[in-house]
């Protein structure tokens, strides 16, 4: 249900307002409740009008009477749910949709006070900050042409001095080559990198992972930006950027990928995050980089796409025990385990040409990657050095052997496999996944959730004529990712996660992934483009095909 994207709901609300007039008095009343910062300072009259139309429609939802939610709205949502989930949502009917819409407090969502269903709540001050940044504001129409919001400028015209911090803090570049500083960052993130305090899980990035994620070819030390307490030098906040070449439709942008923004829990009131964002932007600008890509669980102005997490449960007993999933009322745990059991040995291992990726494969993998990714609206361009870094450098200590799929190496963060055609020795496919455990907060028995995340993959099959239409691609992906699941299971991962992007929707359901409650919003900084197809199709672009970027 919540896969009815936020943008979509707004559209629905607006459409509805065209057909149902409401008096202006009510609209005004609601306008007062809008957070100050959520109205963009540059908003045109047209935009304002649109906004109040939406509010009018929403207001009509709130109004008294038996039929609070207009029939058209219910119908549109219901259709949407049915087309996206088919029979997986057996309870979707008029009454439940109606009740759901009431519970979701759609108005709060549109005002940015919360995500759908009150999830992903955050302070309204956030939008005030984003209202000052070169990002598309909520409610803006899709641009007619792609392009920047603020022009690039020579580095001499970029602000030369760092943004000021409250007097008890100082800026500090965090040198991840230094084990002690890497450890400080790990400490900060593992204790504070969490969105809300009712959370049961918190990401636990390993030290190896952080190095792998933050030191790709061309990394820049000024882009690993920390804030320390002046008196005792304790690291209390962090933000990072890495250089990327991102293709967004027709344009190739030399941009940065911003990630790992983290502020110590006790400093959340200091509003350090906006300063961190402005300072990392300045550091990027000094290097001639004026666009950025980032992902956030919550809705900010304005997502270019939204993807949904899906989870393939492997260690059912543990996942039920820690509340990650639960036993449906019509079955037993034992049955659930039977249903989710995967084979002991990868199917493509013996005659299919499956083996671990090696250094010698890099040119072919890079070539296959670049041809495969062209099928998506937004993706990263990788040169061979980058392919080597992303797929091989995180493979951990120890030799590769025929049996290395059975057991992870010391410090392994990424698992990369290729299919080599036994006759031609050509690499026809590859798949990769990475390890990102989470701390399980306050559980008596288990303290870490071992999660694997599907990373990049590619197959020649996708590039053959008609392979998508006649189901060959789906079949091939099920073989490949099916083996990824087996390898992950052997490596004692509890769950294997994948987003609704790229070609994933073709295999998620049949490989028994379950829908997650987490959404991932994709954002572009200082770049306008129309929405890209993530968990919902956009125009005639099917689900997932807009997004080819997996962020760590």
């Amino acid at each position: 249900m919540s896969s009815v994207g936020k943008e979509k709901e707004k559209d629905i609300a607006q459409d509805h307002s065209e057909s149902e007039g409401e008096d202006d008095e009510q609209t005004d009343e609601i306008d007062h409740t809008l957070p100050e910062g959520s109205t963009p300072s540059t908003s045109s009259n047209k935009k304002k009008k649109k906004r109040s139309k939406a509010l009018k429609a929403l207001n009509s939802l709130r109004g008294g009477g038996k039929d609070k939610i207009p029939q058209e709205l219910v119908d549109v949502v219901l259709n949407k749910v049915k087309t996206e989930h088919g029979d997986t949502v057996p309870d979707a009917n008029e009454a439940t949709v109606r009740a759901a819409l009431e519970q979701m407090k759609i108005r709060d969502v549109i005002e940015g006070k919360s995500g759908i269903g009150g999830k992903n709540k955050k302070d309204v001050g956030t939008h005030k900050f984003w209202g000052t940044q070169p990002v598309p504001q909520l409610g803006e129409d899709a641009p007619e042409e792609d392009g920047w919001i603020e022009p690039s400028k020579p580095s001499s015209e970029v602000r030369q001095e760092p943004y000021p911090l409250p007097k008890e803090f100082v800026w500090s570049y965090v040198d991840l080559s230094d084990d002690a500083q890497l450890r400080e960052l790990w400490d900060l993130l593992s204790a504070n990198y969490v969105e809300d305090d009712v959370a049961s899980f918190r990401f636990l990035y390993s030290a190896e992972f952080l190095r792998w994620a933050l030191q790709p070819p061309g990394w820049i030390k000024e882009w690993h930006l920390g804030v320390r307490v002046a008196s005792n030098k304790k690291l209390v906040a962090f933000i990072s950027a890495i250089p990327i070449s991102v293709r967004v439709r027709a344009n190739l942008l030399h941009a940065s990928e911003v990630n790992f923004l983290c502020v110590h829990k006790k400093l959340r009131s200091k509003r350090l995050a906006p300063v961190l964002i402005k300072e990392v932007t300045r550091q990027c600008n000094l290097r001639g980089v004026f666009q950025a890509l980032y992902t956030v669980g919550v809705v900010l102005p304005t997502p270019v796409s939204t993807c949904r997490y899906n989870h393939r449960c492997l260690n059912i007993s543990k996942l039920v025990n820690i509340g990650f999933t639960h036993v449906p009322s019509n079955m037993t745990l034992a049955r659930m385990i039977l249903i989710h059991k995967v084979p002991d040995r990868p199917r493509l291992l013996d005659h299919g040409g499956l083996r671990e990726m090696e250094e010698k494969d890099i040119p072919q993998v890079a070539d296959l990657y670049s041809r495969y990714m062209k099928r998506f609206g937004m993706y990263l361009e990788f040169n061979q050095d980058e392919v080597r870094h992303h797929f091989l450098s995180g493979r951990g200590e120890g030799p590769g052997s025929k049996d290395s799929w059975k057991k992870p190496r010391q410090g392994q963060v990424v698992w990369s496999y290729v299919i080599e055609n036994p006759k031609t020795h050509k690499i026809t496919d590859f798949f990769t996944f990475y390890s990102l455990p989470s701390t399980i907060i306050g559980h008596p028995k288990h303290d870490v959730l071992n999660a694997a995340y599907l990373y990049y993959y590619a197959t020649e099959t996708a590039l053959e004529d008609g392979a998508e239409e006649d189901g060959r691609l789906k079949k091939r992906l099920e073989e490949l990712i099916g083996d990824a699941l087996i390898i992950a299971d052997q490596s004692k991962f509890d769950v294997f996660n994948g987003l609704s992007l790229m070609d994933n929707v073709q295999f998620l359901k049949d490989l028994k992934f379950g829908l997650g409650d987490g959404l991932l919003n994709y954002y572009l900084f200082n770049w306008r483009t129309a929405p890209l197809a993530g968990m919902a199709p956009v125009g005639d672009v099917p689900t997932g095909k807009g997004i080819g970027v997996v962020m760590l």
Binding site: M1, V89, P90, D91, T96, A99, G117, N120, K121, K122, D123, T126, E168, Y193, E195, D196, D197, V198, A199, S200, R202, V229, S231, N232, I239, N259, L261, C262, K266, R268, R271, P274, T295, V296, V298, L300, Y309, H311, L319, G323, F324, T325, H326, P328, S329, N330, T332, A334, R335, I337, I441, G442, P444, L449, N497, G516, D517, G518, L519, L520
Partner: protein
């Protein structure tokens, strides 16, 4: 969080309410408040599962009621219990009139260790008591996704198998009193006996009650599992022991 320690008075009121005829006449609001208080007192202060999906309206309302209880009473267990007793009295409970049922069915969960708050306090202590909002202008993916509640058909409340699944011992006792001739070995539409379900879900008091009533513990489910096998898979050692002992 604290270890739930329901008092005998509470147990008695709960036992009364589990079969109180007056309960059928009260509004959903009162029922939900009772539910929230009950879970708050017997299980934990706040729900330990994620919020049920919006299609699971009943489950979601119950979850919200539980959460609301936490918001209202915080750590004041006494006040929560007082309120529960008050509602029970309003619904006709007279203290001392009900034989307290079996000892508390709730397994006492050890208090969760509070996540490390041992950092040196160098700044704004007063802020830490405020409810943290999201990490404001955050970038980076900081929410760990979990499986959404499945939208499976809910079991019909007040049936033999529903009591076995939910572990509602008082409900089951009342049911058995009013339906003395029920076949306790009956399989539900999915092929499970009440003993299968209680053994799988880990409800020891229900298992004990069913065994005392002489149910057949050798019946196999659709996957050829007996109750003891289900309990073993689910690592409910106490139930495994009881079932093995019953089998002799």
């Amino acid at each position: 969080m604290s270890t739930p320690t329901p008092s005998p008075r509470f147990e008695e009121a709960a036992a009364y309410l589990s079969s109180a005829p007056s309960l059928s006449k009260v509004s959903d609001t009162v029922k939900l408040e009772l539910y929230g208080l009950f879970k708050f007192i017997t299980t934990s202060h706040s729900p330990n599962s994620s919020r049920p999906s919006i299609f699971n309206i009943t489950g979601r309302a119950k979850w919200d009621a539980w959460k609301q209880t936490e918001t209202t009473y915080g750590d004041r267990d006494g006040n929560a219990e007082e309120r529960y007793l008050q509602l029970a009295r309003e619904l006709g409970w007279i203290e001392g009139s009900v034989q307290s049922a079996t000892q508390s069915s709730t397994s006492a969960v050890p208090p969760a260790t509070k996540p490390g708050d041992d950092d040196e306090d160098i700044w704004d202590d007063e802020e830490t008591t405020k409810r943290h909002q999201g990490s404001s202008a955050s970038m980076g993916n900081t929410h760990v996704s979990t499986i959404t509640e499945h939208e499976e058909a809910e079991r019909i409340a007040g049936t033999l198998h529903e009591y076995a699944v939910t572990g509602d011992i008082h409900g089951l006792q009342a049911f058995l009193q009013s339906h003395p001739t029920t076949d306790l070995n009956e399989k539900d539409e999915y092929g499970y006996t009440p003993l299968h379900l209680a053994s799988d879900r880990g409800h020891l008091p229900i298992v004990e009650l069913l065994l005392a009533k002489g149910v057949d513990s050798t019946i196999k489910d659709q996957d050829e599992f007996t109750a003891v096998e289900l309990a073993r898979v689910s690592e409910h050692d106490d139930i495994v022991a009881v079932l093995e002992k019953a089998a002799g």
